[in-house]
């Protein structure tokens, strides 16, 4: 039941306390403590002071009345009214807290008083003392507030009763003064507390904000950011842990980078080896196999010329046709493996050759446009990669896109080279199809682009054709004049 009662309170408290900043929280704690302490001290001091002063007031009242009783005895017995009156005035004048002094005779008639003209009704009867009592003190309820009234019998009551009334006004004044001072002190301490809280907040939040900034930086990938350990406290420990974490992340990133580089080198060397192998095989096919086949073809023709009749002739023609086709195939094979024109004449020429090849082989018309590469050779790996990428892209178009026309645009910019391959085929859903899973060709293109520090972007929609953007950075110095 208590939990149920407390929960809404706690939630309300948390709604406030959780929403404010640490500065406000610390200020709240400091101010709350100071104010609570101030309030408690004011209440306690007021209570203690009131008790002490009331005891003092009662003692003063008894003391003044005793003194008055002792000094008035003879004056009453010898009926010295004038001196008695003087004594009353003197008693009142000697004590600031005395509100009134009066003497009753043994018949309870007023012998003398300090009220001037007249006497308050009911005051004489308000406090009575027996002849054997030392004194009797009462707090009277008057229109001027509580009055500590002490009655003391004079000469065993035979000469009457001395009465002294003490006002609490001085107590109130002292209480007000002390309360004022305490409140002022509380205010001053609060001010100091606010200053301390602001300083404390700064000390506390500065490392936290630093940590937050560092966390943002690390989040952005800046693993070089470190936080300063301001103090030897929990936040210092956190900062240390944060730095340790950033170190570990940096090391992990370094390892990752090294692995990436290793993989890139590996892939690059694989590709290079592949290209070299292709080049070697292509050259072999061209230089050796093609020569042999050509020799064979020449031999077969010579044989037909000298031995040319009947079935034999027809048989030779068939063989010659087979050899011619094989020679073409070997030629094509060599061309596909490694167009020697790429090495000999450069990328534009190789691409033009390949465009012609596409039309011839697939019936795909390729519009080729090349800007900014006039008379310049790119680094060999870049030329090879670009050639392979465009080749792969066009092969894809020919095989899958059912396109009639494809266009290839090659643009040399100051720091990069952009290749755009566009077709009017049926396209595909680029967002739905994972490259890695289904489009191995595209994956190869991306791999090559990334090896050169570039990137591949694909735009495609069903029925709207496909566009591939490849952008590769090329520092100007790496271009070679032919």
């Amino acid at each position: 039941m208590i939990v149920r009662r407390v929960n809404p309170w706690f939630e309300r408290f948390w709604a406030v306390a959780g929403a404010v900043s640490i500065r406000t929280k610390i200020l709240g704690i400091v101010l709350g403590l100071v104010l609570l302490l101030g309030l408690g001290v004011v209440i306690q001091v007021r209570a203690a002071l009131t008790r002490a002063m009331e005891v003092q007031l009662e003692e003063q009242s008894v003391s003044a009345a005793s003194d008055l009783a002792a000094r008035s005895t003879d004056l009453i017995l010898v009926n010295d009214a004038y001196r008695l009156y003087q004594l009353l005035l003197e008693t009142k004048a000697n004590n600031a807290n005395v509100r009134y002094v009066f003497i009753l005779d043994s018949e309870a008639r007023v012998l003398g008083h300090t009220f001037g003209e007249g006497f308050p009704i009911g005051l004489a009867e308000a406090n009575q003392v027996g002849p054997n009592e030392h004194h009797h003190t009462l707090v009277l309820n008057t229109d001027e507030g509580p009055i500590w009234d002490t009655a003391i019998p004079i000469f065993g009551g035979r000469a009457g009763t001395a009465r002294v009334g003490m006002t609490e006004a001085v107590v109130e004044l002292a209480l007000a003064a002390v309360t004022g001072q305490l409140l002022l002190t509380t205010a001053l301490v609060s001010a100091v507390g606010i200053g301390a809280a602001v300083l404390l907040t700064w000390i506390l939040t500065r490392p936290i904000l630093n940590l937050a900034r560092a966390a943002h930086a690390v989040g952005r990938g800046d693993l070089s950011h470190r936080v300063r350990r301001w103090a030897d406290d929990e936040i210092g420990t956190l900062a240390e842990a944060f730095n340790a974490m950033t170190d570990a992340l940096a090391r992990a990133a370094e390892v990752q980078r090294e692995r990436e580089a290793l993989r890139a080198r590996f892939v690059s060397s694989v590709i290079t080896a592949q290209e070299e192998e292709r080049k070697r095989v292509a050259r072999e096919l061209h230089d050796s196999t093609s020569q042999s086949l050509t020799t064979l073809l020449v031999g077969l023709r010579a044989l037909g010329d000298s031995w040319g009749s009947g079935d034999g002739q027809r048989h030779l023609d068939e063989l010659r046709s087979v050899v011619g086709n094989t020679l073409d195939e070997v030629h094509n094979l060599a061309l596909n493996l490694r167009p020697s024109v790429l090495d000999d004449l450069g990328l534009p020429a190789a691409l033009e050759r390949y465009a012609a090849e596409c039309l011839k082989r697939y019936g795909l018309r390729v519009d080729l446009a090349i800007h900014g590469l006039d008379g310049q050779r790119l680094p060999a790996p870049v030329e090879t990669a670009l050639y392979r990428m465009v080749q792969e892209a066009l092969t894809n178009v020919a095989r899958h896109a059912q396109a009639r026309v494809a266009s290839v645009l090659l643009e040399r910019h100051s720091e990069s080279l952009r290749a755009i391959v566009e077709d009017d085929g049926h396209g595909f859903d680029a967002t739905a199809v994972g490259l890695r899973d289904h489009r191995l060709g595209l994956y190869g293109i991306r791999e090559r682009a990334e090896l050169l520090g570039g990137k591949l972007t694909i735009e495609s929609e069903r029925g709207r054709g496909t566009t591939l953007f490849v952008e590769i950075p090329i520092p100007r110095s790496e271009t070679q004049d032919e």
Partner: protein, 305 residues
């Protein structure tokens, strides 16, 4: 948690409450609303009996209370004790008829008798006689053997009109060819004999002359005080301080009071009252008993009061 809140609230409440205690009680008294004091008039006029300040006012009030009670019983009316600081004031009250009966000093009687016809009513009898003396007293450590040795000292007089306390010591100084003003370094009045005795005992005065009756009474009540004092001179006997009435007092009242006083020794309450005053009886006395005092006053002459 709820309990803690409750305890907290309760303790704050206690602290606040304790600041207000004790609460004032009773009806509201308006200190600013001043009304004339009603003076109640008593139906029965009391017999007003004055006692001259032979001893201190409080001592007088205690000593004479049994007598007042006795007289009140005998006369069937309340008896009120009237005291004044000096003998002269009492004489004035007697002359003005403000008091009916008075115990006065001898010289006050002589003066009152001469000035306005103060009448003798009775006299106390002590040790079978109606005389008393003036004792010259000094602190017990004092080397003084007589008035001559007190020259240049501080001297305490009792009342300006006192026979034993002022007239006789002044007479002694005059016999030494001086006056108190020149003889003593300083003099002061105590206005009662017991206080003159205490002034000497405490060393406030180097000497004083006091009523022998008072001295004997004080020393018998407080022997320790007697240890501090020494009587170095005793005067010739003087007529004892009498009980007197004013000239206007009705003879019948005077006779009633005289009869009550004379009959005290026959009455148990009266005897107790006599014992309190340390006297044996009240007896009639003639004016001639005070001739020696008259002679002394004549000898000393008029003094500054």
């Amino acid at each position: 948690m709820r309990n803690q809140i409750f305890i907290l609230r309760f303790s704050i409440l206690l602290a606040l409450l304790s600041a207000c205690a004790p609460s004032s009680a009773g009806p509201l008294i308006r200190l600013s609303d001043l009304q004339p004091i009603e003076v109640p008039t008593s139906e029965v006029a009391p017999l007003r009996l004055a006692v001259a300040a032979v001893i201190s006012a409080q001592g007088t009030a205690e000593t004479y209370q049994p007598l007042l009670d006795y007289l009140s019983a005998k006369l069937g009316r309340p008896v009120e004790l009237v005291q004044r600081r000096t003998y002269a004031e009492i004489n004035q009250l007697i002359e003005d008829g403000e008091v009916d009966v008075a115990f006065v000093c001898t010289s006050a009687y002589v003066a009152g008798n001469d000035e306005f016809g103060m009448r003798l009513l009775a006299a106390p009898q002590v040790k079978g006689a109606t005389v008393y003396y003036s004792y010259l007293i000094v602190p017990s450590g004092s080397p003084a053997q007589g008035m001559a040795d007190l020259r240049g000292g501080v001297f305490a007089f009792t009342d300006p009109m006192s026979t034993t306390g002022r007239m006789y010591p002044t007479y002694l100084v005059q016999q030494l060819g001086s006056s108190p003003e020149r003889f003593f370094a300083r003099t002061f009045f105590t206005y009662s004999h017991d206080e003159a005795i205490r002034a000497v005992a405490s060393g406030l005065a180097d000497g004083a002359a006091v009523d022998s009756l008072v001295y004997d009474s004080v020393v018998s009540r407080d022997p320790a005080l007697g240890q501090k004092l020494r009587v170095i001179h005793q005067s010739p006997p003087f007529g004892i301080p009498p009980v007197v009435v004013g000239p206007e007092v009705r003879p019948q009242l005077a006779a009633q009071v005289a009869e009550a006083l004379m009959g005290m020794s026959e009455d148990p309450q009266g005897r107790a009252a006599l014992e309190a005053m340390q006297i044996e009886a009240f007896v009639p006395i003639a004016d001639s008993a005070y001739d020696s005092v008259r002679a002394l006053l004549t000898e000393v002459g008029d003094l500054q009061p």
